[in-house]
């Protein structure tokens, strides 16, 4: 078993479903925790657009109701990310990953701007379609090995098919778009800086975590 995350620091068992932290996943967890705290405390940016070719500029207002909704979605996204970091069960991980996908859309959905909503809609369709490889990969792993527990799979009772791992990674990429941020670029034009950054941070974190899972099992 290639032990890329280091030895387990903490294990919380609920029957055969468990949560565990290694130095690697603990680092990612703390990162998500710190950023969620920052998103709770900080005030949204006041975005300013400069009119090209002149001195004029216009400032975009972020209404309080919109800000509240987006902050709530950011906190939910942070919690889902933290859950994905600690989960020791592949199906729970896929559920957390798809929750990250939904909340990423939710973070920008309150913005009343046509191009941002268009981008969020397209990205939402990708996130929705990505549940096929995500859950399909988990189901394939369950069908071939008979378990979803990451430590049990890592112990190597039966080999995990590479197709299952590949589908899982593909699904996480679709949910979070982690290595291909260009696909989300239009979404990042939404005003409200600390909230939109959570989109990229959460997708980066779940991608790093699925890499760890794919190597470990």
């Amino acid at each position: 078993m290639p032990d890329i995350g280091g030895s387990s620091l903490f294990v919380l068992e609920f029957g055969d479903i468990l949560h565990y932290y290694t130095p690697y996943t603990l680092t990612l967890f703390v990162l998500a925790l710190i950023f969620t705290g920052l998103a709770i405390l900080s005030r949204p940016e006041g975005q300013v657009d400069i009119a090209f070719g002149g001195d004029a500029y216009y400032a975009k207002e972020t209404a309080v109701a919109e800000m509240r909704f987006r902050r709530f979605m950011t906190i939910a996204c942070g919690l889902a990310t933290m859950g994905a970091m600690g989960s020791g069960d592949i199906f729970n991980f896929t559920l957390f990953a798809s929750l990250v996908g939904i909340t990423n859309v939710g973070i920008v959905a309150a913005v009343k701007s046509r191009h941002v909503l268009d981008a969020a809609y397209e990205y939402g369709i990708v996130a929705m379609v990505a549940t096929l490889p995500l859950f399909g990969g988990a189901a394939l792993i369950l069908a071939t090995t008979g378990t979803l527990s990451i430590p049990a799979l890592a112990a190597g009772a039966s080999a995990v098919p590479p197709v299952g791992k590949a589908l899982l990674a593909l699904g996480v990429i679709g949910e979070g778009m982690a290595p291909f941020y260009a696909a989300k670029a239009e979404m990042f034009r939404a005003p409200g800086a600390p909230y939109v950054i959570m989109c990229s941070l959460s997708s980066l974190l779940i991608f790093l975590r699925v890499v760890e899972i794919a190597i470990t099992i």
Binding site: F91, S98, I102, R114, L117, M128, V129, F135, A139, A143
Partner: protein, 199 residues
């Protein structure tokens, strides 16, 4: 002899291929949203193919994720296309004037007899039909509060199972009735979804 699982997997992959091809060809936003539902069904088929109790338990969260994404995306689509037209008055059908009371009563009583998740679905269908046919200026906070508290009772029942297994019968009864109320309350809200001041 090819095992059944492989045949099922082949069929599911073929269906996924068809769905992705259709998504690639389609350009209309609303139609693409509907086509993603095709992909969701194949996802559930992938899980169902495993064919164990665990797979049955995993289908429900998979379904919930799919439905919540569908609702979120349709809301975004509605806002971005600017659809704000209030819905027209309900259907004018004679049965919807006379039947709802008695039908709802029969379904709710039968649902309470069944209890649990399926009972909640049956009773919820009755209440849904009632709200659909009659006026629905009800106190929604009350329904939501009842749903929330019954969810908490459901979780309490699970803790009883884990921590005090000797009281399993009490926990079964608690979980059965709490999930009945919760599913019923949630489903009945669907009957009120037709615009208006409460929507």
């Amino acid at each position: 002899m090819i095992p059944d699982y492989s045949i099922g997997l082949l069929v599911a992959f073929a269906a996924a291929g068809v769905a992705f091809f259709a998504l690639m060809r389609e350009t209309d936003g609303l139609h693409r949203l509907l086509l993603t539902d095709l992909v969701e069904v194949v996802t559930l088929a992938f899980i169902a193919l495993v064919g164990t109790d665990l797979a049955e338990a995993l289908i429900l969260p998979g379904l919930v994720v799919g439905v919540s994404e569908l609702i979120a995306l349709s809301e975004i689509y509605r806002v971005k296309e600017g659809y704000v037209r209030p819905p027209a008055a309900g259907l004018q059908i004679e049965v919807m004037e006379s039947a709802p009371g008695i039908l709802a009563a029969i379904l709710v009583v039968y649902g309470i007899v069944l209890s649990g998740f399926s009972g909640g679905a049956v009773a919820g269908l009755g209440v849904l039909f009632y709200f659909l046919c009659r006026d629905h200026h009800e106190r929604f906070e009350l329904i939501e509060t009842a749903s929330g508290y019954s969810w908490v009772l459901w979780i309490v029942a699970f803790f009883v199972f884990m921590l005090l297994p000797q009281y399993w019968f009490f926990a079964v009864m608690l979980a059965g009735s709490a999930i009945l109320v919760k599913v019923m309350a949630k489903m009945s809200l669907i009957g009120t979804m037709r615009g208006g001041p409460n929507a």
